[in-house]
Amino acid sequence: MNELLELKGITAGYEQTVVLRDVNLTIREHDFIGIIGPNGGGKTTLLKVILGLLKPFSGEIVYHVTKQSLFGYLPQNSRFDSKFPISVKEVVLSGLMSEKGIFKGYTKADRERVDELLKTYGMEGFGDRPIGELSGGQMQRVFLCRAIISSPKILILDEPSTYVDANFENEFYAVLGELNKTMSIVMVSHDLGTICSYVKTIACVNGGLHYHESNLITPEQLKLYNCPIELISHGTVPHRVLLKHDGTIEN
């Protein structure tokens, strides 16, 4: 599959603290990479480096495709001002910024794309509401619309399960499966259950990055990289298969 983006020997962090050391990762077309790891292990830092929000101390990011409409980004908790005077429609429209730059205008066709998306995600009739008046779950649907309106090559999701409301959760993951047909997805999650049922490959991040060409999480993997042990100690993570120590498969 075609490579979209490559991280080569990335070391990154904040001020004097190194959070990620010598990370290599390639994102290809149709990838669905689940990123797991303990809190403070550098998951969000990794996303920031991929997105170009954080300049790494060393290493390089190689783009194999143009940067236009490269990323669709759904942040973990959008820390925006809830009183900001912006309507739902405008928020979704802002997802076209990469395509439009600062000079191109927004057309009627663009606004129709917005209406269509809002309808698809059950937000019809909310277009003119101020974004701050929506519930958390509704907001997240709007931000998902913003992330995908430009048909990005890579969709990046930071802990989507923390804010998606219960009604929308199953639907949300089904949507991701559908979107994955046309775009690569990189998803950070501490929710092991969701990671395993949808993702194709797993990257475990804890200071460094360990890439696994399958979506099976093995107990060894968790122990080796100091991922939170309680994730497997309950034993009943839904919808997935766990490999035993000796390699046999158990439901």
Partner: protein, 266 residues
Amino acid sequence: MIELLEYTFFQNALLCTILIGVSCGLIGTYIVAKRMVFISGGITHASFGGLGLAYFLGLSPLFGAAVFALAAAFCILYLSDNKRFKEDSLIGIFWSAGMAIGVLFIYLTPGYAPNLLSYLFGNILTVTGEQVILSFLLCLVIVVFFAKFYRPLFYIAFDKEYSRTHFVALNGLEIGVTALIALCIVLCMKLAGIILVISYLTMPQAIAGMFHKNFTKQLVWATIISCVGSIIGLFASAALKLPSGATIVLCFLLIFIVCYLWKRKK
């Protein structure tokens, strides 16, 4: 009152009021949306330092004020972006240091500085033809800038981190709008004075914000309210022989109260 329009000084004042009304309506909507009111206060007061220094050196006070306003605007934004200093502390420093420099240089300037009070409280009736032209040019730049860039401008203000993932040229846009804010404040000083400038940048926007929660409509309505309010204020001040700046501010306040009560009754 109509005969006032025959006087050149009043024509200048009226033209300038409208031009500044439009400029402040647009710039103020951005300032209020982005919660930069306090920053704007800092820039305004810092510019007094430039004003004093210009007096001392025998230069144009407006020029001195503009240089200081631009410097303060970029310093506050750059230094607080770096997170080395807290933004509100920085504003406090620029606010008071600017005033201190201004007072000191005006004290050191031999003779009496007659127009000083007009810079503190504004006097639109003393506006010159040259200042009308300056206001026109700035107003033109602001209108064109907002007409062309208002969407990316507000999108970036709403969610800067998200905008950066789209690789848009947001630095250029932010530098542009910061410069326009500083220059708009300096020109507005002639009308409202250092102490009252903030009202121009916040009150029409607060009134528009009561009725519209989307930036596109706020831009339009804040501009209309800003113009109408200041024209009414200007005529009222001339008719009642009151200081123009203060009358305009109180005119905005009156509109605000009426709108608030009307909105509550509904």
